[in-house]
Amino acid sequence: DQQVKQNSPSLSVQEGRISILNCDYTNSMFDYFLWYKKYPAEGPTFLISISSIKDKNEDGRFTVFLNKSAKHLSLHIVPSQPGDSAVYFCAAGSGGYNFNKFYFGSGTKLNVKP
């Protein structure tokens, strides 16, 4: 299942700088996208979402950008903090009102260096 791809398995960023995590998808029917953060031994924690009617959504230090024509989304974290070090997953789904099934990327491990 390669419908959602995160091509960078890891990313290292200096504290205070911007972290950019990328995600690509292949299914043009996807119309809702989520970003999750995951620490070891914990479940995924929801960060931010975006629907296909928008191209940007912002929540504090986190901004998600959606480029529908390129089937690409990205998560920007500014400024990055050491506590942001975790694995980040993007997930995509479709189905109109009844969202049931999300496809996850393989994750990007972010390391924010103090």
Binding site: E42, G43, F46, G107
Partner: protein, 112 residues
């Protein structure tokens, strides 16, 4: 903040045995899900449950798997006869009518 709770955190079982993984979703949520993550692989959808019935299931969710909401609070995943390849982290999730899904901390299932 309300959270999804899962028990046990780690379950070890022998091949061929039945296991039941338990979840307590967030109380006002309507949709319930099971996902799993085999070590080194993606988080993958197993099943969704709404209004006391399965609303969608993946090809992984074969006759060996079943889900149940036995009362107003618990949501269970049963694997009837476990196989080695069932070893994975199993995540329960719940949501309101719209996303996002809220995940529990998972149950690590080890089949020996």
């Amino acid at each position: 903040e309300p959270e999804v709770t899962q028990t046990p955190s780690h379950q070890v079982t022998q091949m061929g045995q039945e296991v039941i993984l338990r979840c307590v979703p967030i109380s006002n949520h309507l949709y319930f899900y099971w996902y799993r993550q085999i070590l080194g692989q993606k988080v993958e959808f197993l099943v969704s449950f709404y209004n006391n019935e399965i609303s969608e299931k993946s090809e992984i969710f074969d006759d060996q798997f079943s889900v149940e909401r036995p009362d107003g609070s618990n949501f269970t995943l049963k694997i009837r006869s476990t196989k080695l390849e069932d070893s994975a982290m199993y995540f329960c999730a719940s949501s309101e009518a719209d996303p996002p899904l809220h995940f529990g901390n998972g149950t690590r299932l080890t089949v020996t």
